[in-house]
Symmetry: C2
Subunit: 256 residues, 2 copies
DNA sequence: GTCAGGCGTTGACACAGATCAAACAGCAAG
DNA sequence: CTTGCTGTTTGATCTGTGTCAACGCCTGAC
């Protein structure tokens, strides 16, 4: 099973690079994601400086990789559209989804420390990213204090997010984890102008399970149970949150 | 139980600040932790610039807090000596140890994103830290490229470390987690010139359990079992690793 | 259209680790 | 020395989630 999955990833990966490089200039100054992404808080003039830095966009088809563990690190990526997962693979076949990333979020910061990527980033739907050469970003942020500050915040936010996942994996039971996951997605969709109550999951039950430290069957059962008690309605990957408060109560409730 | 613990933390915390501020100048240039800490890779001249930035050291007694969730963020801290844990507390009383930090490591980067600390840092033994005002660090790293690069690596390393913990919590069983934990400690002690095989745990079984997503009884049983099969010998907090390879095999072994 | 294969659901059962409980070791205070 | 408290060990039992298995539903390929 793991073998097959690995193979698929390999194949799809090799096809990506030549197809997805474009010479299209990306202008942060004209991007409506400004408020979510790196340019947040920059002045018009500063954003124009940032424009010059972002050389290319890359299109990634569903199932294809953006970068991959072991690969040399050169750039971070801002998601212009689409949806990604990142995962870590151990030699013995174990793999753990470390995050799901959506529009406006930054990918690739794991690679800075060792100048090598330490996880795989895979598109869960056809996506487009802005390639931000890291050396250039460091250069510009030495001149633009606001950019420097904002980039540090983005990295720090990633650390805080990871602590949240550790809390989830370390102290929550299956249904609490799933509830936390759904509420987190809902909130992030809201921030992007989508419905908070209704959305489409881009990932499989197995990927959710891997992220939450559960087996896919457990995820499926939890979905069914949430539906039974009226918290949500589920049809395949389509989720409708009916009782936001119920889900929240589930999480904050002591289990003892 | 949780109540009591909270109380103790509160009390001890309040006493800290007036006692621990000192005006002693800390010189990175004369610090033998240079190769582990922020100054890594800097030239003599650059290190002298760093000297001017680090205003004070702070002494933290065992059990006292260095900073605490909700508190305003102003500085990060380099551990000069001692041992810390960081933990996150949920309103409902659940708490999760998010990490253990030792000499030469950097604390407080969680606070950058929201300009507020999001976890508590508590000394597990009498410790001393260098206070690095964050605004100053950003200022200097705009001028010293090596410092900027190194600081980014330190933050990124934290992200990678967190992914490792997520892998541990998401895919490993109890004994694998403890084995990974011991090997990680051993490796970090080695890097600091201490014995790889013999060391003293500064944290309780409960704190280990919280970090590893296990109950203290499970941690205790795993220790006992490791001793039975000859991987380690344990006497209270004193650990002696007898079969490093055995522990490694345990982790890389598929569980299925 | 039909067919195949991946994905999701559900059930029965097993087991790792949680929970409850008791006793002990180490250490500080008196 | 005794007392008390915190942390640790160990045992017995319980339970949430994993595992194994069967089946059904989409979706995409042809």
């Amino acid at each position: 099973m793991t073998q097959i999955k690995q193979q698929v990833t390999d194949d799809s990966y090799c096809n990506v690079i030549p197809l997805t490089l474009t010479t299209l200039k990306t202008a942060c100054s004209q991007c409506n994601l400004r408020e979510l992404c790196l340019p947040f808080g920059l002045s018009e003039e500063e954003i124009h400086k940032l424009d010059s830095l972002i050389g290319v966009r890359r299109r990634i088809k569903r199932g294809q990789g953006l970068y991959r563990s072991g690969e040399g690190f050169e750039a971070i990526y801002a998601i212009r559209s689409g949806f990604f997962k990142t995962d870590v693979l151990l030699e013995d076949g174990r793999d753990q989804v470390t995050g799901f990333q959506m529009t406006g979020e930054i990918l690739g910061m794991d690679g800075i420390s060792g100048e090598t990527h330490t996880c795989n980033a895979v598109a869960l739907e056809d996506s487009e990213v802005c390639v931000i050469p890291f050396a250039d970003l460091e250069g510009l942020s030495r001149n633009v204090q606001t950019l420097q500050r904002h980039f540090h915040k983005v990295m720090s936010r990633e650390i805080v997010r990871d602590h949240g996942v550790m809390m989830l994996l370390g102290t929550m039971r299956a249904e609490e984890r799933l509830a936390a996951f759904l509420l987190n997605l809902s909130q992030r969709f809201t921030a992007r102008g989508y419905s908070a109550a209704e959305f489409h999951l881009r990932m499989t039950r197995e990927e959710i399970g891997s992220y939450l430290g559960l087996k896919l069957e457990t995820v499926s059962r939890a979905f069914s149970h949430f539906q039974e008690v009226g918290y949500i309605s589920v049809q395949q990957k389509h989720i409708h949150i009916l009782d936001n408060h119920g889900l929240k109560k589930l999480i904050s409730h002591q289990h003892g």
